[in-house]
Symmetry: C2
Subunit: 406 residues, 2 copies
């Protein structure tokens, strides 16, 4: 296992108990030894579920299965089963058979209909998933579910993650305490195109499925779709959100506050994924303003955030703003060299088509030694804005990915 990311939070947060949701984890030995690798979440009847999935054209069997089920009826309970170590992606017809076997085992052990059992798998692509190792532990998982098992669940879904990821929020709705708790895994193969990792969100609010889906999709676009580690998109990425309905009902009158809280949890998890970017030593915010429109701003921010040359400069603590200019230039967005302004944090680095008067390289170099960097670009053209989060590209990224399977 790689060493803990230097950008990791101090500890896994205390996540609130979500009434109606229980969790368990187990060692199934799918691929890893001496660690948990399967989690189960059981959700009470009345739970609504929304989901956002990878747009990859080669998405995995579990993703296809989840997508087919996500619009289904919600009167009954539900279950989510997730394994690490093997993604069950590009495994031909055997992929769906493995999903079916796991779903059947959970349905049999819990009485939950198969159409309400959602599975995810994460890990190596293209190797058959030994489903029987998972089905063998379903009984134990069902027997051991607990309202406070969510931390264990977050641990079980890790692959190259150096820390388990959790976040939570609480809001008051009509005098009732509404809770949101989320867990995530992800540290590489992270790119900004629809859901980009495994994320499970739980709330005790009562939310109609359609409303929950709208809020989840919108907040994905502002969180998980705004981060990038290596520009690669997984075949397995999934965001599921379950609302158990035990607390206050969310409707048009109070949806904004709930969605805001949900969005904060999602952004917190998204930032944690970047902080665990494979080999990351710098957390980088790229904020673009003044672009011709939001779409152009997004292009520019992603072009900077995905540039290997910008990311290696950050790793080397080099205030090489010329590479930022390069990345703006190649983005395809409208740009006028002489209207550009580039800042590192609060330091004005370049404007009027050249290095800023008064910019001292020593200031830029000192700034780059920080763990948290902010690259600010104003295009001077219009009102378009976008913010993307990423990390640096280091030797450790190469080491992790050059021998991930061995």
């Amino acid at each position: 296992m790689p060493a803990l990311s230097p950008l990791a939070p101090d500890a896994f947060p205390d996540l609130p108990v979500i009434d109606g949701a229980r969790f368990a984890s187990a060692q199934a030995g799918v691929r890893y030894k001496n660690r948990t690798d399967v989690m189960l979440a059981l959700l009470d009847p009345g739970t609504t579920i929304a989901g956002v999935f990878t747009r990859s054209a080669t998405r995995s069997a579990p993703v296809l299965d989840c997508q087919a089920k996500i619009g289904g009826e919600s009167g009954e309970g539900a279950a989510i089963v997730v394994n690490s170590g093997n993604s069950n992606a590009f495994t031909g017809s055997a992929g769906q058979s493995a999903v079916d076997a796991i779903v059947a085992a959970v349905a049999g052990a819990t009485g939950i209909p198969a159409g309400r059992v959602f599975t995810s798998s994460t890990g190596v692509i293209g190797e058959p998933l030994p489903a029987q190792r998972i089905t063998a532990v379903i009984g134990d998982l069902v027997a051991s579910v607990s309202p406070d098992g969510i931390h264990g669940a977050a641990e079980a879904i890790r692959t190259t993650d150096t820390f388990a990821k959790g976040a939570a929020a609480r809001i008051d709705v009509d005098g009732r305490d509404v809770r949101i708790a989320g867990i995530a895994k992800g540290s590489g193969m992270i790119a900004p195109d629809m859901a980009t990792m495994l994320v499970y969100l739980f709330t005790d609010a009562a939310v109609d499925r359609a409303l929950l889906q709208r809020m989840l999709t919108r907040q994905c676009d502002r969180s998980f779709n705004c981060i990038t580690v290596d520009s690669d998109t997984s075949t397995s990425d999934t965001v599921l959100c379950a609302a158990t309905g035990k607390s206050a009902r969310i409707d048009d009158d109070n949806a904004a506050a709930f969605e805001d809280a949900l969005g904060r949890v999602m952004l917190d998890l998204a930032h944690q994924v970047v902080r665990d970017g494979e080999g990351a030593t710098k957390f980088i915010e790229v904020a673009v303003t003044g672009a011709a429109d939001d779409k152009d701003a997004d292009r520019i921010a992603r072009s900077i955030a995905n540039s290997p040359l910008v990311k290696t400069a950050a790793a080397g603590e080099d205030p090489n703003w010329g590479r930022i200019v390069m990345a703006i230039g190649k983005s395809g967005a409208q740009a006028d060299r002489d209207r550009l302004t580039i800042r590192l944090g609060d330091i004005l680095v370049a404007e009027n088509g050249w290095v800023a008067l008064g910019y001292a390289e020593a200031d830029g170099a000192a700034y780059m030694k920080r763990q948290e960097l902010r690259i600010g670009v104003d295009m001077g053209l219009g009102d378009g804005t976008a913010t993307i989060w990423t990390c640096d590209l280091t030797h450790a990224y190469i080491s992790i990915n050059a021998d991930y399977r061995s």
Copy 2:
């Protein structure tokens, strides 16, 4: 200087003398010490010149200047001056002033009109170009031009290149010997969007400017636009082709043979740039067939060739074909998991949506130890084809780019 690329050719080739073209190089001390860093090519009256340039929105002053001049009249001689060490990009209005100073010095020393003096600069972005260091050596350069100075010119334009790049072809046109010789520099910031490095091509053929431009543009699309090292696009990239008119005339009747030879020289140079990719240890050909159309094939091939996960797997000699599936899936092109075929060289790795029957991981692992790799993908959908060349992503890439300026 980094060590010589393990993928380098054995030696710089013997380039034929091009009648009407003379070359010189000198130590101007723009940035580097104890090496040549400026080259001059002088071209006889009657030379036609065509050019292809980076599409970056933040292109450098020399690129903008070349673009403005490229369609000009050709009755007079011409000159090309190139420096390494500083790209004169994002240097505000001082950028054009530096170009003007160099152009004026060459025009003054040679009598060639300023509108026929082309300059290029390559190196660090955003620092003022000390033009006076270049103008100070123009007199010496003009005094020392020689028909066989082209190897020296190729050496002078290197930046992080570990070897000088040259290629040549000769064809018979109506009993006359027509020669083409080219030099190039480039090893990083190489991406497949229009010209992607500095390339200078010289021929003694007589070719109308418009025809020369058409052939050059078409062959760029088949050579320099089909390679990628790090997906980054330089602000300075330039391909110039000069035809001195001393040998046979190229017209519609014999243009095909000439263009074919020109294309071979360009592809040879393009492959050399990949072989000198920063930190490269593997030369990788990605060949896609059976895509819905050529555009989709191109998308898929570039998605694979630019994937950091595919490139690190190559560096680790890991036959991780699951990452190839991932890269196909994220490309945005039409794909059907169950119709895909993936090959490593001649080894059938995956088909029918899964690992191929008879594929042995040991065979894949043995194949990946080669220096020259071929990833073959057949989409099973249509007639679209594309081939892209790239290299692996290694620790040395990080080392080179994390401290390029220091």
